[in-house]
Symmetry: C2
Subunit: 400 residues, 2 copies
């Protein structure tokens, strides 16, 4: 596998565009389009929030129906909590986009992100579609990645290549996400493109797998969005022998997809609202994997742990308190905690590690916390960021 510069237009046959249509007061780009020059097999994972955007409902239905060829994305408005209009809005916007692209409307998907509960200014978007289609270009991956941003401070994209037989296959992706990031199902907007020729069922299985071990393992603030969607479209332009489930080629593809997804998931955490530090919580020695995951999510979600990291304060007692209160049956007297590779609590008790060593560790940009429950083989990793005053500022001042 090779890591290359690029994003959603790095794979062959994909074009993208990003324009401003007036949804954001800042006049920043707020409308993006992704297009493949031929039909794609597609897969998606969507928020499990019971309050869902009409854009999510429409895309989920269309992915079930069959092939996809374009995705239109607006930022600045979630198209959510505004009643039956939501789906009508998404239908009108995708219908016009389809007409301009010469496609059946069922081949066009849609995603939205932004303020909830404000009717989508559909007129503004419809007016922008012509310019958007005109702007389609194979070099516009970054433009696409920028137009889907909300409180993100950087655009986030990645690309990798692998060889399948003697053909080069590319996978590229772009994501947005900074707040309202919670570890359950897809937790932001993510778009992957690949020129691999792959069976639909293989693509769906691989994508589900990749999302589970990347986007579903991060948390910024524990709040799950109404609009979370992750898409992958595969157009076969690489001309490789069709990838089917099982076998070496499938594994190769899956590994590359997992890598790309994890890269982008980590970028979301690094760009977490107000975040100054990347945090990995690894829980091992749990009775079951599920237990390890519950404890890791609980620690990664603790406001006291996250503020302590923001303050550079190596107060492992807060980690211990959080481990004990996850609801999982643990044995406190067997529990070890490590900061980096240093054992700071052994069998539930202080190890008296000199404070300057701990302080040095907490001055770093990446903090690794390991909890060993010493009760089994269950293991899980969750990635998060610190909780800073800036997070509160961003979210107290986000204009509704």
């Amino acid at each position: 596998m090779q890591i290359v510069r690029g994003g959603v237009t790095t794979a062959r046959g994909f074009k993208a565009a990003g324009v401003s249509c007036g949804l954001k007061k800042s006049k920043r780009p707020d409308l993006a389009l992704l297009f493949s020059d031929r039909p794609c097999v597609s897969a998606g994972t969507f928020t499990v929030n019971r309050v869902r955007s009409g854009s999510v409902v429409l895309s989920e239905e269309r992915i079930k129906k069959g092939n996809s060829q374009a995705i239109i994305v607006n930022s600045g408005n979630a198209n959510c909590c505004s009643g039956d209009r939501e789906i009508q809005n998404a239908e009108r916007i995708t219908a016009l986009t389809a007409r301009r692209l010469g496609l059946d409307e069922n081949k066009v998907l849609m995603a939205s992100t932004g303020i909830i509960g404000r009717p989508l200014p559909t007129g503004k978007i419809l007016k922008g579609v012509a310019r958007l289609v005109k702007g389609l270009n194979a070099n516009n991956g970054s433009k696409f990645a920028k137009a889907i941003m909300t409180t993100d401070t950087v655009h986030k994209e990645t690309a990798v290549t692998i060889s399948i037989g003697n053909k080069k296959v590319t996978i590229g992706g772009a994501v947005k996400g900074s707040g309202m990031i919670c570890p359950d199902m897809a937790t932001m907007l993510a778009f992957f493109t690949t020129d691999a020729a792959i069976e639909r069922s293989a693509l769906r299985t691989a994508f589900k797998d990749a999302v589970l071990c990347s986007f579903n393992r991060i948390t910024v603030d524990g709040d799950m969005s109404t609009n979370d969607s992750a898409f992958i479209v595969a157009n076969g332009a690489a001309g490789n022998r069709l990838i089917k489930k099982g076998g070496k080629e499938y594994s190769k593809f899956l590994d590359a997809l997992k890598y790309a997804a994890l890269e982008l998931a980590k970028k979301i955490v690094l760009d977490g609202e107000g975040a100054t530090r990347f945090v990995e919580v690894l829980v091992k020695g749990a009775r079951q994997k599920k237990d390890a995951e519950i404890v890791a999510r609980h620690v990664a979600g603790s406001s006291l742990v996250k503020t302590m990291i923001a303050g550079g304060d190596p107060n492992w007692g807060r980690v211990a308190a959080s481990v004990g209160s996850s609801g999982v049956r643990i044995d406190a007297k067997k529990t070890d905690i490590y900061f980096g590779k240093t054992l700071v609590m052994k069998n539930g008790s202080d190890r008296n590690v000199p404070r300057n060593i701990l302080l040095g560790m907490f001055a770093k940009k990446a903090i690794y916390i390991t909890v060993d429950l010493k009760s089994g083989a269950g293991l899980a990793r969750i990635w998060t960021c610190d909780l800073t005053k800036r997070y509160v500022e961003i979210n107290a001042e986000y204009e509704s």
Copy 2:
């Protein structure tokens, strides 16, 4: 029932003291003692955190054994995560206190609050015990309430009186709690005294009931402490006819105790770390009470909802997103949201309430959010506070 000025020494036969013994760098009082001139029936509820302070373990055991007559409390150190020494520390401290008071040591309980993972400076406390006992006085309720504080900004006490037969019965209480407040079991340190004559089993049932509908219904930051303890001691000095379970007198006592507990629980929320606003989340119309509680806790725990309130921003879409993601099966198309008495979302859709009306509501010090799921009779209330930059400051700068 009458609400009176007072606290833990308002009921007859109780004395208290608060001194500084050097656990806190600030030199503020950090050692408190509560004493009854005769043995009390007692009850307690303790943290369900699996990582627990030795002080909690000792008190829970002694309450099971029989009567209680004194409680010694230290602030500044949690006596937790320091191994077997924890229980030995608690034993030594309560033994000396018992000797000074002329009591059997099993009649002395202990509670601790403060930094986790640092060995308790038992020597300092032992040196303070003589002064503490000497300082016992029936007017020292507030001194007691002050000496148990950590990040609290105000001391918190309350007292009420009722008539049982022709006797006046008093219930008084003091609590500490400001951060690490999470809604599961007792969630801070709370001490109640009463001069009621009451059967032990009646006291225990009443106390459990009172804690469930007060301290178990508040959340500041979702972090559950290792040291949470709530105590009640009843010395019978009022000379009333013995209160037994069931009957009018039990109900009267229970109502007064619930009132006092709820008052103190709300005081904790109002003094939540960095809090500027009191928030009530009421969920009704759930299929079951349990569902209402899950949704209410989820909304009250949402960082995005809490920062929005800190910012005075009436962004009800965040409430909707939180309601949808609690895991409870709700029907988004039937859900209503009210801010105060104003319906802002009806059947999952915007009601277009003028922004100036909403802004006015969110400028108030107490914010009432009601969610009506319109699917049954389940109802629950949870109290919380906003999430401000000051919360992050306090917890990023709390010196470990």
